[in-house]
């Protein structure tokens, strides 16, 4: 389980969020999506409810914009959001690249393209917002799938999906391009190649043991050990004591290195190079890794 996945929050039902006597649950996808981004971007240090985010906007009328909820993330939780809307709208390729680097995103779109799929969460097209937490597979700019936290995907009816779900990337792109910027009564859409999005900060790295940034960053590597062996993962790169082994990884599994340092040289090795994870609490010796590519 990846550590920086949020707790799923459903926006509904309507009385899930009542402010000043107004039932705002179904009107608050933007607030719930941003709440999950804050949760993931802070590794759970801050996990406001979507309703709390909504309350901080001071707006109790209708839907919300990305800028409104981004301001709440910044002002109340210290999470800076890069807002890419309007003349500053981004491409899906840009979004994929940011997600690949570990940033979290909220993406606006229309549910229209989802209606004929099992990822649907509404009965008719509506401008909506989802949290896109990560991507996997494919290429750097064109992933296969994205892990989507759709605040309306609560399985309230049998045909409604239960989030979070892995959406094919093509559906994320279609969702984004189908956004109707002048409202659902105006047929105009933002169009292919456009994505209204807000991006959380690049992942914080806890540098330890004199670790320095990897190049690329992160450096997506795979465990590379002989048949029948497991790679030791150690809490520190400075000792071969069994007491510092915190995990054992199988051949071929992914290890995302964020830092590299010089530590103890294992007997029989010519290298003292160790790679560390984002937390600085997991280290694998270079001899047990093979570069996979990826990163910035």
């Amino acid at each position: 389980m990846t550590k920086n996945r949020p707790h799923y929050q459903a926006q509904g039902p309507a009385d899930n969020c009542v402010i000043n006597g107004r039932e705002l649950g179904w009107l608050s996808c933007s607030a719930y999506g941003m709440a999950m981004l804050i949760d993931a971007s802070t590794f759970g240090a801050d996990y406001p409810s979507g309703c709390t985010v909504r309350r901080h906007t001071g707006d109790t009328a209708g839907g919300l914009t990305i800028r409104q909820v981004a301001a709440v993330a910044r002002d109340h939780y210290g999470v800076t959001i890069e807002v890419r809307t309007g003349s500053n709208v981004c491409t899906p390729q840009y979004a994929a690249r940011q997600l690949r680097a570990g940033r979290k995103a909220v993406v606006q779109g229309s549910t229209r393209p989802t209606l004929s799929t099992t990822w649907r969460s509404t009965s008719s097209p509506v401008n909506h917002l989802v949290e896109v937490n990560e991507v996997r597979g494919g290429t750097l700019y064109e992933p296969d799938e994205a892990l989507v936290y759709d605040p309306a995907a609560d399985n309230r009816y049998p045909w409604v999906d239960q989030g979070p779900s892995w959406w094919p990337w093509w559906l994320v792109k279609q969702f984004a391009s189908a956004l109707q910027p002048y409202g659902e009564d105006d047929r105009r859409i933002v169009g292919i190649g456009h994505m209204y999005a807000g991006f959380g900060p690049a992942p914080h790295v806890n540098f330890a043991w004199k670790g320095t940034r990897t190049t690329p960053f992160p450096d997506r590597q795979r465990i590379n050990v002989p048949r029948g062996k497991l790679a030791n993962v150690r809490s520190r790169p400075t000792s071969m004591s069994p007491s510092y082994i915190v995990d054992r990884r199988a051949d071929g599994t992914l290890f995302e290195a964020y830092q590299v340092t010089h530590g103890i040289r294992p007997a029989g090795s010519t290298s003292d190079r160790w790679y560390g994870d984002q937390t600085g609490r997991q280290w694998v010796h270079a001899s047990n890794l093979i570069a996979k590519g990826g990163g910035e």
Binding site: Q11, G12, A14, W26, L27, S28, C29, S30, G62, G63, L64, T65, I66, R67, T85, G86, S87, N88, V89, Q108, T111, L115, S116, T117, T118, W119, R120, S121, T122, S123, S124, P125, V126, N127, H128, L129, A152, Y157, W159, A178, L179, Q180, P181, Y182, G183, E184, R187, R188, I189, V190, G191, I192, H194, Y196
Partner: protein
Amino acid sequence: MTEQEHPDTEDHDPEVAELPDDVRSGHLEAAYTNPEPPAAEQPPER
């Protein structure tokens, strides 16, 4: 050419030339609360 000569086409949603900075999402509550599934032309794909 007439529309009859191109039966396998559909209306193209016009794209916006200038994009507004702010778009509200989640404005139509009925889309969320209608218990009827969307009228899909095809079975849901996955």
